[in-house]
Homo-oligomer: 693 residues x 2
């Protein structure tokens, strides 16, 4: 229990530190009246969106609450489950909300600080990112550890731990549902605005990005906040919570009891301390992107190192002799995360070969840029898969999976916790990006001197790379967490099933195979749905922008201010409408499979969706990141520079990449975990009513 108290204490420290960083941000001025005005418009748009999203989500959560309540009254689940679902969703939404508030307050301030120097700009943007990072880990760990503390005192009896873990997993299901809405809705909003603005602005009319004459420009900037900040925050909140609850719940099946269940909490707590210390090492050094990247990396690596040291002593203290295997698992997670991050960077940053070659191909035209970007993404899946495969095998066997299956799974869970333990700082480097992006937009719209825009461009380009790395982390952790969740599902079914029940999980067993088939195709269908949604919404934006240009020629001449609000409104409504179906798919698919094909098929489904989801998510994130940076590489003057045919081809590549990397790709992670948790929560129900199994 002292481990849980430690977690409560550290998560409060994270929140305090977030408050301190927010103070740093707010001390800076918003700059000129014009800058403040633009920032206000973005803030209003973002608030309007979030308000509508949360209203829509509230309906969904109410419906799910009622369903869960009925199931709990019928005795299939514990009475705390519906509440845990709501609470998980609430805290996920709250952390997204705080992160977005901070980001929308930091954008103009970052632009203003960049007027002084690059370092000042980086400091403000990074502080804003740190608020997000610390709020996510702080709120995530706090609500889980408080719940754990309470439930531990409340329950007693032999199935106490079983009860507690199911409820803890329901928190995860709540955060996953919320995250899926935030990622999908935010992703549709941001990319519809971005693609729509680019298509008419850059491609058709030839006006630059972030030009105030573009009626979709505010929507585009709002999108950075609702998608890349609020959406990503909810996403990583979910990853963090998912890793902790899944490994914690496996402790019971592994025979480690309360002690083992509390360890993931304590590891997360250590990670918070390591992250806080790490942030102090992020100080702008040189003036160019490479050295800035080094500065950010330094913070992350120092945190990782500290985390490893703390994990060593923590696990030694808890488990005594024989802690080595579990410590190795944590270490494997940390290393795997950083390695996947490195390879993501390698494939998507323009300081390496692949993205540079992609820019060079832009000379041959659009077709080759698309083909090569797609194959770059496909090829980039190899290393992450190998890394995760090695991480699975080694953390499984080192933590004793050879003798005790569940012990091995617990090790995989700890690897996921290890991977995400330093999320406080990795998310800070990641969430800083959209702030820098917005700051650039504001600098452009407020006609700040070219040198300021150049500084924000450097910050923005760096942000693209850290965003890609962050996605690599999220995807890697999702693969490990999903496996741990499959293990948790298996353990849950074994605990609930009538005597004599036996799994028949052979991969050549047709129901399992059928489940794997269905699971494998789901990420593709899900990606198609979300990409189509972006396409449809972008189409509406294109029409709206064209309409405004046509009806009001003064807009392009710069004499009349366009109607920014209408684009924001169109994006909001589209995102609302289109985010429902993909989320429902994630909840219905495992239930239907379970009812029709049985429990074995559900395990197949979860495994299948984890596999293709993992690969597809990496492919989409990396293709998208590479296209974006290849375009930027052309824009700084290579292969013809801005306005050339190469540039046009590269811009189209980026347009295709946008829904890849910011809508479909990152949402897939959440989908696969949501399906696992839905399976776990509804396990008793499925066991009772399945036709086939």
């Amino acid at each position: 229990m002292s481990l849980i108290l430690l977690a409560i204490f550290c998560s409060m420290a994270a929140l305090l530190f977030a408050w301190y960083q927010a103070r740093l941000v707010l001390k800076e001025s918003e700059g000129t009246k014009e800058m403040a005005g633009i920032a206000r418009a973005i803030r209003q748009g973002a608030n309007a969106y979030l308000k509508r999203q949360y209203t829509g989500v509230a309906f969904f959560f109410t419906a799910m609450f009622i369903i869960l309540l009925i199931l709990s009254v019928m005795g299939y689940i514990n009475i705390f489950v519906p509440f845990a679902y709501i609470i998980g969703g609430f805290f996920s939404g709250l952390s997204g909300f705080i992160g977005m508030k901070t980001a929308t307050n930091a954008n103009a301030r970052t632009a203003n600080a960049a007027r002084r120097s690059l370092g000042s700009g980086l400091r403000i943007a990074f502080s804003s990112g740190a608020v997000m990072g610390m709020v996510v880990v702080g709120l995530g760990l706090l609500h889980l550890s408080l719940a754990f503390y309470f439930l531990n005192n409340y329950f007693s009896g032999p199935d106490k731990m079983q009860q507690i873990t199911t409820i803890m997993l329901t928190f995860g299901m709540g955060t996953s549902s919320m995250a899926l809405f935030a990622r999908v809705g935010g992703g549709i909003f941001t990319k519809a605005a971005d693609v729509g603005a680019d298509l008419v602005g850059k491609v058709e009319t030839g006006i630059p990005e972030d030009d105030p004459r573009n009626p979709a420009v505010i929507a585009d900037n709002v999108g950075d906040n609702v998608g890349d900040v609020a959406g990503m925050g909810a996403d990583l909140f979910e990853s963090y919570v998912g890793a902790i609850v899944s490994s914690s719940s496996l402790a019971v099946a592994a025979g480690l009891g309360m002690k083992g269940a509390a360890v993931p909490f304590a590891l997360a707590a250590s990670g918070i301390i390591a992250s806080i210390i790490g942030t102090f090492f992020v100080k702008a050094g040189g003036q160019e992107e490479k050295s800035l990247l080094r500065v950010l990396r330094r913070g992350v690596y120092i945190s990782s190192f500290l985390m490893a040291v703390m994990a060593f002593f923590l696990l030694k203290a808890v488990f005594g002799t024989g802690f080595g295997g579990l410590f190795s698992a944590v270490l494997i997670g940390l290393v795997a995360g950083n390695l996947i991050g490195y390879f993501t960077e390698y494939y998507t940053s323009d300081i390496y070969g692949p993205t540079r070659r992609l820019s060079a191909i832009a000379k041959s035209g659009t077709g080759p840029v698309i083909i090569n970007g797609l194959s770059l993404g496909m090829a980039s899946t190899a290393f992450p898969v190998i890394i995760i495969a090695i991480a699975i095998l080694s953390s499984y066997y080192l933590s004793g999976g050879g003798d005790n299956f569940n012990m091995g799974l617990y090790g995989i869970g700890l690897a996921a916790v290890g991977l995400l333990s330093t999320l406080g700082i990795t998310l800070a480097t990641d969430a800083y990006g959209p702030v820098a992006d917005n700051a650039g937009g504001i600098a452009e719209m407020a006609n700040l001197p070219a040198e300021v825009r150049e500084r924000t461009d450097v910050l923005d380009s760096l942000g693209n790379t850290t965003a890609a790395t962050g996605k690599g982390f999220a995807i890697g952790s999702a693969a490990l967490t999903s496996l741990a969740l499959i293990g948790a599902y298996k353990a849950q079914v074994e605990a609930l099933a009538p005597a004599g029940f036996e799994f028949s999980l052979s991969i050549v067993n047709p129901p399992v195979l059928t489940g794997v088939f269905i699971g494998s195709v789901l990420p593709f269908i899900f990606a198609a749905m979300t990409m189509n949604a972006v396409g449809t919404a972008a189409q509406h934006i294109v029409e709206e922008v064209r309409r405004q240009f046509k009806e009001n020629p003064g807009i392009l001449e710069g004499t009349v201010e366009p109607d920014y609000a209408s684009s924001v409104d169109i994006c909001t409504r589209s995102a609302q409408r289109e985010m429902i179906l993909p989320t429902v798919l994630g909840i219905i698919a495992p239930l239907l499979t379970g009812l029709l094909l049985g429990i074995d098929a559900v395990v197949g489904l979860l495994a299948g969706s984890t596999l293709t989801g993992f690969i597809l998510a990496i492919m989409m994130a990396n293709s998208g990141g590479a296209w974006d940076n290849a375009k930027k590489y052309v824009e700084v003057g290579h292969y013809g520079g801005k306005g050339s045919e190469s540039h046009k081809a590269a811009v189209i590549g980026d347009t295709v990449g946008d829904p890849f990397k910011d809508t479909a790709g990152p949402s897939i992670n959440i989908l696969i975990k949501l399906m696992s948790m839905v399976s776990i929560v509804f396990a008793a129900f499925i066991l009772q009513y399945s036709i086939f199994g």
Copy 2:
């Protein structure tokens, strides 16, 4: 044995019928001197390519032969295995060669016949396709049944059937290796030429497709023959052989003995008769695409119906009572193939909504066309996966898999045979496409009247749809065949393994899971490799065409004939170089996985690659088909027609789709089966030397 004699007899009938159809083609004149000249140039290019490809392949086969010979001397495999490997490869190459010879003789004749009427054009092109179809099934079944007959007389003793099936599977491995070379090499050639010709011709210079001024135009037409005829022929030869040998080999494990092993041969023989009868119902009715499609479909449906009737009596005669389950499996295969074909058509033909909507999106620009084409492909995977899942479950359980696992797998194998049994006619409708495409090119280059070109356009557009349907068949059969092969692998290992060996195939067992992970990512890497190869080769073509235009302005003015041979040569060399690595990947991956991670991981690898390979292949084939037809739909006058901005966007979509649908997509099928067969042939070696398992 009488079943085998029946197979020998029917396969000879197929070859005779092919000879008769070839006579029909050759009776037609090649038209004007100009037409004959162009046809000769295409023929020379195609021959030059094939000669070089077969030389390269001969080296590879010799190397593999030596390796297999060493293994057989060491006692790991039977002495017949190396020879079976060579013979399988030889017959696969031979059928591709004959098909291509016919096609390159039929193109100008089709154009000439189209001068008289649409119906005459269809008849010649279809006869040429029928030669291909009948040669593939004839040679495929003939060499297998002769070998079976011989081996059956040669071997005796208790492990006789075991010996025979391993050797039969090695024929499959030979045909798969050959098919992979032909598909990958041919696919690279055809698409590099096509993309290269389009990029400089249509997009940059604005000259029409098949314009004689384009220096890559002959290479483009050669490509249709080496890729879409020889490549596709080898591909379906491999599918056909694979389905027969895998189901035949499962008969032993299922306890059906010789009788069961001979049934797939007899089913294939019935399918030949059904196909021959079906071809007589293909007679041009109306003048438009829809009614032509109906004519082709009529032939296919009549053949399918006849096949079902014959299968009923055949299985009843062989198995007596209790034949119903196996008959259902054959029927399920037939229905599943036609259903997948239907959904492929639905997603890729411009007479249905999805492709029409894709053309409409071309109005919004290139980015949206790409995004929506990709999501169309992703969404189109849902039905085939569901169809295959249902086919697996139902053919498994109906043929008795519930009681006897191997019996169920045999049922799945028979479903694959059922699906492919009417290949004689489905391949005819499929192989007719490239002939029509070539005929159109010749009509254009020889300046035939516009009405002739219009007729060949109708034939060509229809060919796109039948090509897509044919791919659907190939992909569906690959999924079923791969499962049967996984079963055959399992049976093989059980027969070879030392006493006490037990599989541990649970999907949550980490080695299996790791295998699945690696297997899942292989199709992505493979697709990336082949697409990159197309990109690289197309790049060379672009540079060559630009060079010719620049150095010799007379070419564009139409006063100087361009140097056609140089483009053919560039494509040939690129295809040769780039086809090695992907093929080696398919052979090395299962061996390495087996040696490092053990037998269980190999099963995981095969299952994983089948899953993602199946989905990725459908996605790529359908995206590509839809882009192609969306472009054609714009070209006939919708959304601005030829030369409009929509058209430009649609052309780029088609450029991206080309390597999707004609290089990477269809090769994946072969890859997954090759890996299965390699695993089977090397099973004894892996069992001995695996470190882990």
